[in-house]
Amino acid sequence: MAGKTLYDKLWESHVVREESDGTCLLYIDRHLVHEVTSAQAYEGMRLAGRKIWRKGSVVANPDHNTPTKDWDKGIEDPISRLQVETLDSNIKEFGALVYFPFKNVNQGIIHVIGPENGTTLPGMTVVCGDSHTSTHGAFGAFAHGIGTSEVEHVLATQTLIAKKVKNMQVRIEGQLGPGVTAKDVALAMIGRIGTAGGTGYAIEYAGSVIRNLSMEGRMTVCNLAIEAGARSGMVAPDEKTEEYLKGRTHAPKGENWDKAVAYWITLRSDDDAVFDAVVVIRGEDIAPQVTWGTSPEQVLPIGSRVPDPANETDPTKRTSIENALKYMGLTANTPIDEIKLDKIFIGSCTNSRIEDLRAAAKVVKGKKIAANIDLAMVVPGSGVVKRQAEAEGLDKIFLEAGFEWREPGCSMCLAMNADRLAPGERCASTSNRNFEGRQGPGGRTHLVSPEMAAAAAIAGHFVDIRTQL
């Protein structure tokens, strides 16, 4: 019999019961909650008179609606404020292990604070009403986004009704060149397999490039699994995982730490495990990536030209290219490094951790943003990241270069708060989605790494970061 994959092991260790058609009741260890996708679930609980199954599994915090400046003014938009206050009252009524309300010193993006305080651990099942829950797979957890009905189901039963999906291994071998980051690995992979390439699969990332990534880098790669269509992405835990977790507030302590580590090292795909699909990419073949269209798969290495729909034979794809060029205000065959920008956004659950900010600060240190950049902003992923960055003087580097240094939150990744693009504005963004209207109605988003966004801020247009090193 063939060995088991990491996903097989995580799945099997959480099956409460299985129906004859393969539908399982899966036990959930960690439930992350934010304000946008939870209100209707708590309301459903109240209407049905149901109790929360295990409040100790809940880690919650508002992030999507919270402003990133003028915190003394509170939340000015009354609808946003009501949603955040509704989370406050729901947590008060139903309970949680961790809750950081708006303006708490540790508040931040839910996918940044989970790992940061040790509430995301290897071997766990982690869910959240948010598709970027795949981030937590970086720790060797089975983590994925769910809808609000499922949020309610987990609150009431601590389980999900689910069927096992197929196994995909994405192996990034060799090594990355200077200036090439985890973000470029993820975007290049999406460019290769497409935004539906991972649909119906759980992805395990492996290979020497992944092993050499920091935990922050692994989180960036797993975060973007959903943009390849896979609900979950994961990396087997190793010494880096242990080193990252040791001593964190909610990480196991004492004897439990030793027991936990002994278990975690078993969480790897067996040598004879069989994957339903395998994708292999050489790290040396990956250049810094820039998306040019309105889907993350519409991505090219810097140095390329915007595609010409005339060269596409598939009619649906040709229409997609034409629609994207029209929306993005781009002409076919334009060199990507000639695309001029209006705004720069460094932040989001994809790229707002300390390592991302250090990398961007290194690029802008001692320089000024270009005259054509209307706004360049850095939004740290959490209060913890913000304080760490300030202790290292990164805030001053950004401010001196002309960036704004903001309070933590999801911010302009999805523009639910006041941070957004105006119609027609063009942004180099370290976030995860370049969909139409994502960063504001009519806004035009190009996804890049923090280093590439920083370099674009200085030049006023995209540049190959490798020429700046």
Partner: protein
């Protein structure tokens, strides 16, 4: 949840691949703390020519006449015809809430994004995966024929075309049972509460740190 058995419904085509949930229901409408009232904002940025905000009276907003929902021939459609990877992106259940609130009960596409696909079943919407060639044919027929309708029978897992031609579709027995009977999954799961408790006790004994 409403039960779904069968419909004979008007079909509306949406000829775009990779339709994401940000397009289905833009973020400003996610600030609502209710489950209802999203229908008027379905595909807001494509459907209206001005910018929509929650609470707006949509009956007076300027329409994008080219958009399929605004064409008189597709008014009151109950079946949406879509392209590959429909519902990709954000996990927001507001997307199926908006689709259901508008009046769609069935979506037929060559493929769906996973989270959206699961969310549909929780809201009485039947997502049907059909072969690409069949979807191409349906698009062609639908655009060519005013008042084009399809019959969808969940019990028989069959879609019948006006020509009498038909095709079958897959659905798990669990999802079919819940949809046919409009069942509340939480109630069903809680019938297994003892098993969940037993699992939890065993899990706690082997990995106590998960419960600290």
């Amino acid at each position: 949840m409403k039960a779904f058995r069968q419909i004979d419904g008007l079909v509306c085509p949406l000829d775009r691949a990779n339709v994401d949930t940000d397009a289905i229901i833009p973020k400003q409408f996610l600030k609502s703390i209710k489950r209802t009232g999203f229908g008027p904002y379905l595909f807001d940025e494509w459907r209206y020519t001005n910018h929509g905000e929650p609470g707006m009276d949509c009956s007076t907003r300027p329409l994008n006449k080219d958009f399929m929902l605004n064409q008189p021939r597709y008014r009151n459609a109950q079946i949406m015809l879509a392209r590959d990877n429909f519902g990709c992106g954000s996990s927001r259940e507001h997307a199926p809430w908006a689709i259901e609130d508008y009046g769609f009960q069935v979506i037929i596409a060559p493929s769906f994004a996973d989270i959206f696909f699961g969310n549909c079943y929780k809201n009485g919407i039947l997502p049907i995966v059909a072969a690409s060639e069949m979807v191409d044919k349906l698009f062609k027929d639908c655009v060519a024929t005013d008042g084009y309708r399809l019959k969808v029978d969940l019990e028989a897992q069959t879609v019948i075309l006006p020509s009498g031609e038909s095709f079958t579709f897959d659905i798990t027995p669990h999802r079919k049972h819940c949809l046919l009977n409009g069942l509340d999954e939480i109630g069903l799961t809680l019938q297994h509460a003892d098993e969940i408790r037993a699992f939890e006790a065993k899990h706690k004994a082997t990995q106590p740190w998960l419960f600290e």
